[in-house]
Symmetry: none
Subunit: 188 residues, 4 copies
């Protein structure tokens, strides 16, 4: 069930949606780029909506893995925050099509298909817990964690988006300063 073809179809979906949008991403185009026959998609995915959803979940998983790599669990809140924020930016700088897919997915009505939180539940609660902790230690502003999350992610996403759209070139220095801005948006 987790064959190479399934993986190829997910890659193909990412590339095509990134470059042509959900409109313009036809099943036969996706199959073609993946090098499989049209009908094969339905061996691996129930429907187009399922393919999109599964693709999104895969990207979320990859982002999480990338971001959690070498996570300084024992470090300070600030260190953890920087690690996560840098991780997100660097991951999507490395895989801009993945960002473009995920960004479109979350802006579109497809968003309703994932849990009312952006993240897998287990991970989400870890993140929210992270903000709760920071708030308790009076490092973060007194706000619901969902709002802290939005404030913190805003600068990151917007900067990565500007980069993906070609408006901005992000070097190491700018990445650091984006993380800083993100921190300042939420820290007291």
């Amino acid at each position: 069930m987790n064959t190479a073809k399934r993986a190829a179809l997910i890659e193909s979906s990412v590339q095509i949606v990134a470059n042509r949008g959900f409109h313009g991403a036809s099943m036969s185009l996706i199959a073609g780029l993946a090098g499989v026959a049209g009908g094969t998609i339905y061996v691996h995915f129930e429907s187009k909506d399922h393919l999109m959803l599964e693709t999104y979940r895969e990207l979320e998983r990859r982002c999480l893995v990338a971001v959690m790599k070498e996570y300084p669990a024992q470090g300070s809140i600030r260190q953890c925050f920087s690690h996560l924020a840098q991780g997100v930016i660097r991951h999507f700088l490395l895989f801009p099509e993945e960002f473009l897919f995920a960004d479109q997915f979350l802006c579109s009505p497809y968003r309703k298909a994932v849990s009312p939180h952006y993240l897998p539940d287990a991970e989400l609660s870890r993140i929210l817990q992270f903000f709760r902790e920071g708030t308790e230690k009076q490092l973060f502003k007194e706000m619901p964690p969902a709002m802290l999350l939005a404030l913190a992610c805003g600068p990151l996403i917007q900067v990565v988006r500007a980069n993906a759209a070609g408006f901005l070139y992000l070097d190491d220095d700018r990445i650091s300063r984006t993380v800083e801005a993100s921190w300042e948006a939420v820290s007291v």
Copy 2:
């Protein structure tokens, strides 16, 4: 030929794209909601792409008008910043479908159809000038204005998006704190 039908079609596009995405926004659906015959769209717009583009431009114009209303041109940078940021949030809180349309538009490949800046050129240079001034007065971080713009808009957009998606309820206090976070993201 700026008839009522043209306006109705733009309203209809906003509603349908907001609720069903660009995929799922068929011309006949749009015509139906606008109360005109299918062919009438093509009296007013060259193609679906043009309709979407014109709709986006209309929303941009409306946002700008809303935001510039009672702009404290003589006030401090900080006052101007707050006015603009509050304006954006309040405008899109008032018209959530307009936000959902614009958000999807700018995430999707349609974005390539508008100038490489989100804003009409004249207005964009005013905004960039605003950041340049703030930077000169050493209120903002030493960065290219496009990056300051991204950092400042990030929290606003993300919070409005969370609100539109139903993850967050924004009251006056939270709006203020979002503006504050936005300011802190860019100020020294």
Copy 3:
């Protein structure tokens, strides 16, 4: 009723059908080239079919006028024949779009709309009479006049068509030799 606009519409039909065929000749295209509004066509013509039919009839009339100019009514059958054949060729060489319209018209099911003869009844009987006379004088083969007409017109039409399609360039000598061939096809 016989206004300049009507004439312009007929000219426009000729040009557009000649260059784009009956498919590809839309009413708005024809109106546009004629420099009138779409609805105006229906002031002058009942329907598209009527416009095409009237245009055809106009071209037939013009051809007949051209061909009958300086007709040597007192001359020999041979002289009359040459005059007519040369006349047809030279007329359509001068107005290739008129030929292309008429040719397509007569090949297409529109042909059923004109009398089962290619020519206006009065003129047709004159032509048929001409062949009958020739046959009586034992100049033409013993055949029904309709068949003589087809045999005589065949070479003319085919050569004009080859010229209109750009396969052949017709100079004075070739015109004469075409008329000769046409004569030989029907003469004993």
Copy 4:
């Protein structure tokens, strides 16, 4: 992929274009008569234009096969000429819809899609060679082969067209006399 459906679609195109013209030959009509679903056409043909072109080429092929059957390659120029001319007439008498399709095709702007000669290049050069030979043996008039071709085909086509339109009934005798007329049009 030369299935029965592809063949049925070509037959269907012939019938419908013959009876209703290119205008009036809608894809759904063609699909319906062929007994296939609308979308199936596009499995076998890229577009309407391609379907028409392929249909034309098929008819050309059939005509060539019919005409070349029992071709008296060792016979005299006159014998070959008669064989070919009779062959064309009899073939299209047998398949009048094929004639009506081909006739409309070659009169319409579709003609530009086939080589600037009516015939497949290999066959065309054989035909032109045939006329060159005849000219060398001083049987045909001193003319470019393309012009001899037009002069010879003219009577045939015109007579077949008159027959297809119902103006003329062609029996064996009239066929022979048409071939004769065709010969006389080109022979010295």
